[in-house]
Assembly symmetry: C2
């Protein structure tokens, strides 16, 4: 007999939104990607999500009433307790949007909303590369540089709901202004846009990050150095978190992490170089294992843990 | 009638150890500074502390049996749960020393041992400049650069007992090796030794930090710039903690903080420059108000909270 309790996991992106039916062990039973276009209109959001739920149930051969709760990850800060999206640059009209209340009415189940990097961190902590550690830092390297911090087995949200925002650790004094309001943020150096610009300078032509990765794998020196420097700068910034928050493991995910071992090794080396002695020996740096599904799995597991609490 | 419950607060230093009788409100009833010389011999430590307790009680006109518990702050990492000093560079023979158990037998009361910067943070949080905030970062600028992090109203110790070690946030890639095992640590740039060396370079002669402070107060440009740069670098490093741990207040204490407003203002400006928008507007940067007593007050308040728990 299949487990009667299921959870809906949703990972809202600026362009696409991933949805899945997830069992209590974090396994994906069925999934569906829907367009985020038109999500500024709340009725579009509700209708499209309801449609996805129907489809997901159908595909998995399950009934809608098996769904206990839903978790929704969004790419911006969230007041978790109130289910409030505080701001979102990608979707207009979602600033201070009480998404949890809105969706729980429209979907007919409890809905929990969380920052997407926090969802990813929870997923990797409960079912992925950070499993078994009560203190973990999960980082996503992509268009943005996101982070989620697990302290004492729980997502650390912080009083401003900006816990674990490692992409906004300043790495230089004078550095470029960042959309977050800060200056010299790590993201302005190792986010996709910055990397693409740097690749162009180094290779003196337009070149995709995928190609830089491919060349690095083939052993091209400039390409390897490109990823090594990216890893070194990222690792140094993360070492600051290591010496203040003492995570036992750092999990690295996101598109840029596809660059592979050359990046991850340089990152790990920098973390260890700058970490305090007792941590240096113990800290683990691992690649994320849940990939693109981490966000929706984490959202669903969060919903499960909240529903059970 | 005086409050019958009293606590012993002890702040162990490499040269001197401060002791005080402290009431439940964190007020110092009597205090005594003893030499730390010979503390490598445990019998010396026990005898001298017992002597101090007698004296403290006498001076305050109280009886030894009014003492409920003792808190001891030490300048190194501590396994709080086990009352174990993990390492201490200043006093030989204290590495992995079960100080809490040793002293509770010798003093005849429960003893709690904690890192001194954590004690300072607790004191400022409960009775000082960080009062009323559940999330606070306290920094001491002196020979070392120490830090204590209060998250959710509690000292954040971390699994390696190195929580809040802001002095070991790396601020550059190649920077000098640090005794902590890291490289390019903030302490290697704004600790007393580094500042003294920098002052010597800038002023082209041996000059005390007190004199640089005096000159800055008189408006001397080089001296002001000296402290401004110290504040800027410190503030930038702390901004990384701000964007990951989201403290609502940063409290700055320690000898170097005596440099006064020019340092503190530059530090606060740098924190705000690099902080994310929602935090920038709200974060407070304050000077510590408990001064040199913070360590022993915090140790005593910790003992009180533990004894009551």
């Amino acid at each position: 007999m299949p487990n009667p309790f299921l959870y809906l996991g949703v990972d809202v992106g600026g362009t696409f939104t991933k949805t899945a039916l997830i069992d209590p062990a974090g396994r994906v039973l069925s999934k569906e990607v829907i367009s985020s276009r038109g999500f500024s209109r709340k009725s579009v959001l509700a209708a499209r999500l309801n449609g996805a739920v129907e489809l997901l149930c159908q595909r998995a051969g399950r009934r809608r009433k098996d769904l206990v709760a839903a978790g929704v990850g969004v790419p911006g800060p969230v007041d978790f307790g109130r289910g409030l999206v505080l701001s979102l640059t990608n979707i207009r009209g979602w600033t201070r949007f009480a998404l949890a209340r809105f969706l729980s009415k429209r979907l007919g189940m409890p809905v929990f909303v969380e920052n997407d990097a926090n969802c990813m961190a929870l997923a990797e902590n409960r079912r992925g590369a950070a499993r078994g550690f009560a203190h973990a830092l999960c980082v996503t390297l992509g268009t943005g540089v996101g982070g989620g911090l697990i302290l004492g087995g729980k997502i650390y949200r912080g009083p401003f709901f900006l816990g674990g925002e490692v992409g906004h650790i300043p790495v230089c004094d004078t550095g470029p202004a960042c959309s977050c309001g800060g200056k010299g943020c790590l993201e302005r150096f190792v986010g996709n846009a910055a990397l693409a610009a740097r690749a162009r300078r180094i290779f003196k032509k337009r070149i995709s990050l995928e190609e830089v990765s491919a060349r690095a794998r083939q052993g091209e020196r400039r390409a390897r150095r490109f990823w090594q420097e990216t890893g070194r700068l990222t690792g140094r910034a993360l070492a600051g978190v290591v010496n203040t928050c003492n995570p036992e493991v750092i999990v690295v995910g996101g598109g840029v992490a596809q660059a592979g071992p050359v990046l991850l090794k340089a990152l790990a080396r920098a973390v260890r170089r700058h970490a305090m002695r007792p941590i240096k020996r113990h800290i683990k740096v691992r690649r994320a294992i849940l990939g693109n599904d981490a966000g929706m799995i984490g959202a669903a597991l969060l919903a499960k843990e909240q529903a059970e609490a």
